[in-house]
Subunit: 348 residues, 2 copies
């Protein structure tokens, strides 16, 4: 999927489906953050999305579409309950996607099994189980996760819900852009934390369909090397690390390569300049968000704020925007951080 | 001031003045909080107001009016800069009001002096000084504060900006109700953390002017005994504690009696049932807000949420609302909590 005009009706369809169970998340400003970063920044609070992260958008959209028979009417959405998915759905996740699938399945009356690695924190297991999903512990490796999902599919006929490598999931995440463009007024750029690419792919396509001249930037944890992949025009230029998780505290965005489904959109529509932040910058940005924006964000959500505070966004935009600060939307993608042991920036 | 119809034009005037420097704070929901509390709850995020608390509304309104000559035109607001207040303004505060006055004065080009007790945490002193106000340390007693303000007034001709006992300040705080009624749709009740009474007085008058059948409830820290004062029809039924600060972690709402300016409105328009919460309930509600609502709130702001989670709001409303959950607006009044030593609910 790389054509914004072809993608837009899918995003509008996702927005209609989501409007039955969500309201637009708030958009806020913080004059101190804008002053430090030299930009006119607006923050999209996906922290306040159902289940505490943007992942609910994609999961609910994908589940709803599985329940929608093709009746031939454009935009028709019909939920048939679990009759349409007798084996339920299954996913693997150690966090946000698992909560999102579990909550979406509960709302739609569908059985859900969420495979979590055995070292998944108890608090996240509880959240997933709290939405009524069945928890299945597996070996804490990528292979262990895939094997466990395959076993559930074979046993029960459950349908897998992928976390990012899926056009339906991308269209759900793309609704962030619809809301942001409606709420924030004119923007020069949008900054999106990036892992497998489902969110930035969906946002880039939706944004370019509506406002071709808004630039979409990825922000990544140190080590992802997306700028090199974009420059080389290769989705997996580092095959030796493609299956390893990035060593970052941003636990929600540890995937190294972009998935093959979002890749064409990322390659074509995301800026070649990629913002890269360190764990220390992430911790400082989290502290800033708690203390100044009064918002609880998880490490992944702190990446865009960190890039702002570090001056990276201003530097990238200063060529295109002159005579005024660039006006930038920054997605604070989730707030699911375990605070039971204190704050990440306070030594325990 | 006790007449809603007389107060409403003042609130509308305050809203016009504030619209030049603020945007409406977000209103959000949390399905888990609503389920636990048995209400359909909406939260007004004054945490995201300029300076991190609702106090900015009253301070900016009061300063603006000091700068507005009476030109005879209804609704005319004219800011003359510091020419209109050559001695500047002064207040005493150990927190939110000081930051609010400092920020309002900076925006309006007025000199501000903020008297703070010598034991005021460094982080709050820095925030006040960060807005360009002059800090003046005093003895950490009520008398020490008053003496210091009086000395500044005598020396410089500065005009004192009271924290709550003032109709202009109340009209600024009343704009919370204008926004909430516009944003939240139909409400059965509004719950307001209460200390000196400026916020609840302003909200009660504005609410009753627009929707007479919406009930306005006060929530207080244990020991304030507002219900007894209302029942006795006495503003200061406990003179022996009237000048002491309440022993609560809710440091922003430690005043025992309602001020004499808001008292008539509180007496006439606030429900006789008052919600009362303990420090333990406040800490638990703070934890809930951080973990589930992804919002940083200070202890004072946790009081309304604590009353919801404790079932007090449902119990009070169950007589008036039947067959559905009561729909309640809860003001999360501020987010200025010092996190440098960790979280209030985590033993250090």
């Amino acid at each position: 999927m790389r054509a914004p005009g072809q993608f837009l009706p899918m995003v509008r369809g996702a927005a209609r489906v989501l409007s039955t169970v969500t309201t637009p998340t708030p958009v806020i400003t913080c004059s101190t953050a804008s002053r430090i970063g030299g930009c006119d920044a607006v923050f999209k609070l996906e922290t306040m999305q159902r289940t505490g992260s943007f992942k609910f958008r994609g999961a609910y959209t994908a589940l709803s579409r599985l329940l929608t028979p093709d009746c031939g009417t454009t935009g028709c959405v019909r939920h048939e309950g679990s009759g349409g998915l007798p084996g339920g759905v299954v996913c693997h996740s150690s966090g946000n996607h698992g909560q999102a699938v579990a909550a979406a399945a509960e709302l739609l009356g569908v059985r859900a099994t969420v495979v979590v690695p055995a070292d998944c924190p108890g608090v996240k297991q509880e959240a997933i189980a709290g939405y009524g999903a069945e928890l299945l512990l597996c070996e804490p490796t990528q292979q262990g996760r895939n094997d466990a999902v395959a076993a559930v599919v074979a046993d029960t006929g459950a349908v897998p819900i992928p976390p990012y490598n899926d056009v339906d999931v991308m269209s759900g995440q793309g609704t962030i852009a619809l809301e942001l463009l409606e709420q924030a007024g004119p923007l020069d750029a949008i900054v999106v934390p990036t892992s497998g690419g489902g969110m930035i792919g969906g946002i880039a396509l939706a944004t370019k369909a509506l406002k071709r001249n808004i630039r979409v930037y990825a922000v990544e944890p140190n080590g992802k090397r997306l700028a090199e992949a974009l420059a080389a025009d290769e989705r997996v230029p580092f095959p030796e690390t493609a299956n390893a998780l990035l060593p970052t505290i941003a636990d929600a965005i540890r995937t190294q390569p972009i998935g093959d489904v979002p890749w064409p959109a990322v390659k074509e529509w995301v800026e070649p300049t990629v913002f890269t932040v360190t764990d220390d910058q992430i911790r400082e940005a989290m502290r800033f968000a708690f203390e100044r924006i009064k918002t609880v964000i998880e490490p992944a959500a702190a990446t865009g704020l960190a890039a702002l505070l570090d001056g990276q966004i201003l530097a990238a935009e200063s060529g295109a925007v002159t005579g005024r600060p660039p006006r930038v939307g920054i997605v604070l993608c989730g707030g699911n951080v375990d605070l039971s042991n204190g704050l990440p920036w306070v030594a325990s």
